[in-house]
């Protein structure tokens, strides 16, 4: 079901979109002196984290994410996305929330900002969450979920 609707690889779009993400993170770093880590900024914006960016900064960044998505969707005439079932999303969201809080970051903070800084902590975190993601999906496939 999922394999049948699998989109083909898009290296060029990936590189262009990725570069936009990198420039966005560079604006945070050079403009505001902060890491563009989405999990940390989301926690801060929601009032969960005690430390981190000023709340207004966090809110402005977090509001920008759906705004940017909306802009691209309206220019290109809609974006097709397919999400898993709601029950799966809730369980996955809960695990992602606990994991990123415990591990102090996600794909953006550790993956993009940390790796490019040659941070040892971020390298370890990125290798671990990639490996665990690969194993999780392999397990889903092995148990006939995918």
């Amino acid at each position: 079901m999922i394999a049948a609707s699998l989109p083909d690889a898009q290296p060029v779009a990936g590189l262009i979109g990725g570069a936009m993400i990198g420039v966005a993170a560079a604006i945070m770093l050079l403009g505001l002196g902060r890491i563009a880590g989405v999990s940390g900024l989301a926690a801060r914006a929601a009032g969960i984290a005690r430390t981190g960016a000023p709340r207004g900064i966090a809110l402005a960044f977090i509001l920008g994410l759906p705004l940017g998505a909306l802009l691209v969707a309206s220019v290109t005439g809609g974006i097709r996305v397919s999400f898993p079932a709601t029950g799966v999303l809730i369980v996955a969201g809960l695990i992602v929330g606990i994991g990123t809080s415990l591990g102090s970051g996600c794909t953006s903070g550790h993956g993009v900002c940390g790796l490019s800084r040659l941070s040892r902590r971020s390298l370890v975190a990125t290798l671990l969450f990639m490996a665990s993601g690969f194993v999780t999906v392999a397990a889903m496939r092995a148990t006939g979920w995918l």
Partner: protein
Amino acid sequence: MALLLALLSGTLFGAGLVISGMADPMRVRAFLDLFGAWDPTLAFVMAGAILPMALAWRVQRRLERPFADSRFSLPETRRLDGKLAFGAILFGIGWGLGGLCPGPAIAGLALAPASAAPFVLAMLAGMALHRFTTR
């Protein structure tokens, strides 16, 4: 100025997520699906994002302070510990399960709110659960 820069950064970030295809959980999961129809796009996104950021870090080292603030506020922790490892492993499980990490999930609120909202709310609940159970 600072607020505008943060909004600009978030907007560019969200636009980049959509253009790169990473706003689609199935494409992200396809990257993690080594034994299925593997889709390497996410690797190109990471490469595209890390290049400008690597340059930015080189510039950062020469700056006294950022353009719109009085000082840099960057993580200085260097210690590798169980918290980091266990947290990253947990995050990877959730990432694989849903095909979503925090950025695309929040950007997805504009694309598929009925699906993205339950994930984002559960994610915030997970964060709160961790913060309030440790201290």
